[in-house]
Subunit: 238 residues, 2 copies
């Protein structure tokens, strides 16, 4: 049984201080040398802990000044093609998924937002409707459709516990390889407002996505409704 690496212990200790509020936004952390003494580790070890705190968004560093607690401005890196599970493991808050419907076999919706071949239309689709929560508060309503294509046992899987992309990869050898998305601002309507605990008319970010995979004629489609009041969506390109 391996022990926790020291840099991770330091990272987790500081993270806890920030999450608990003991270290508030804008607060200057002890210097690297002070942290070395406090944790009885060398500076590269401290730096590795701080680097990963920077990556996770808890702090930022200022050359010559120190490490400062970042605003716990909530962002979700959802503009990349990653799935929700993967993205949300980077946020400090408690995340949860609730399956509202499915997985179930059904017909493709009429006037589907991406064109479908008649063959795919005829086969019908698998549909999942999920609610994504952060700190028990709904932030995203997610509808997902995928072709009904002999995915044995798919409708028995509980996707509140399992990542869809992860499951497709490990169980069905379907790898998501591309995404095409369209983003708009809309207002919450009679369907989306109650699901997201919002007033009708509140602004929502809406994203249509078409995911390409390693299998020909097998694309996934999502329609996402995001309440960006507390959590902006973010992306970063270098």
């Amino acid at each position: 049984m391996k022990s926790t690496p020291r840099y991770k212990a330091v990272h987790q200790y500081i993270k806890k201080l920030i999450i608990s509020g003991e270290l508030v936004e804008g607060a200057l952390l002890p210097s690297e040398n002070e942290l070395c003494e406090r944790f009885q580790v060398t500076r590269p070890t401290v730096r590795q802990a701080l680097t990963s705190l920077v990556q996770d968004g808890y702090i930022y560093k200022h050359h010559g000044k120190g490490s400062i607690v970042a605003s716990q401005h909530k962002t979700l890196g959802l503009l990349s093609f990653k799935g929700f599970s993967e993205v949300l493991k980077e946020t400090p808050e408690a995340v949860d998924t609730k399956v509202l419907e499915g997985p179930k076999v059904q017909d493709w919706p009429e006037d589907f937002f991406y064109p479908l071949s008649s063959k795919v239309l005829k086969q019908g689709c698998l549909f999942i409707k999920r609610l994504r929560l952060v700190n028990a508060s709904p932030v995203m309503l997610e509808y997902t459709w995928l072709p009904n294509k002999n995915l044995t046992g798919f409708t028995e899987i509980t996707f509140d516990r399992h990542s869809l992309f992860g499951t497709l990869g490990s169980k069905y050898h379907i790898e998501v390889s591309s995404v095409d998305q369209h983003i708009r601002a809309i207002v919450a309507n009679g369907k989306t407002a109650p699901a997201l605990d919002l007033e009708v008319g509140a602004p929502l970010l809406h994203i249509y996505r078409k995911y390409g995979t390693n299998q020909k004629d097998f694309n996934l489609y999502s329609s996402l409704f995001c309440n960006t009041d507390k959590y902006a969506l973010s992306s970063e390109f270098k």
Copy 2:
């Protein structure tokens, strides 16, 4: 004039190989020790370069096996988030830019949405306010700030005719190299609604952007308000 840190030179060299296609997805990079010999640096320096390549999504690491080129989803996406013309480049319609204010020298706004060093704050900023139109209809209100840093003649340029990024590149040798953005859905208020010919309360896509450049302490900042009624923003990652 500082030289490029070694870890950054290694990072950029490998990044170029990946972008150019010389290193293809799934390819195993030379081992850390081999890279040390090849670049004549020590292993922590190589590791720092590799760590930042991991962070940027170009590679992933496998303990005991090596560093592997990741699928290039982000790489293509890098090139499509540069400026307005790129974002809307798919549209065949007539696009136009109207400068509403600036370029002018002013103070940085209070409570600016990205943290600024006291040095940059003291210098003030250059500000431009533009309206982007498609088929003579306003689709985006764009505020741009950049550090007031001896850009000779900048306030004389008419940015309705000239691309900001293009001008920075050709005239001032400032290349935009990264972007960090946060996206929300908001409602149009008393300032944004009239500029975009909308009712107060209409949904708007709001984007904060911080562009990194090749010059230290020279970042550009934008706040974009997009009417996505007719034109969704789209992105594609492969």
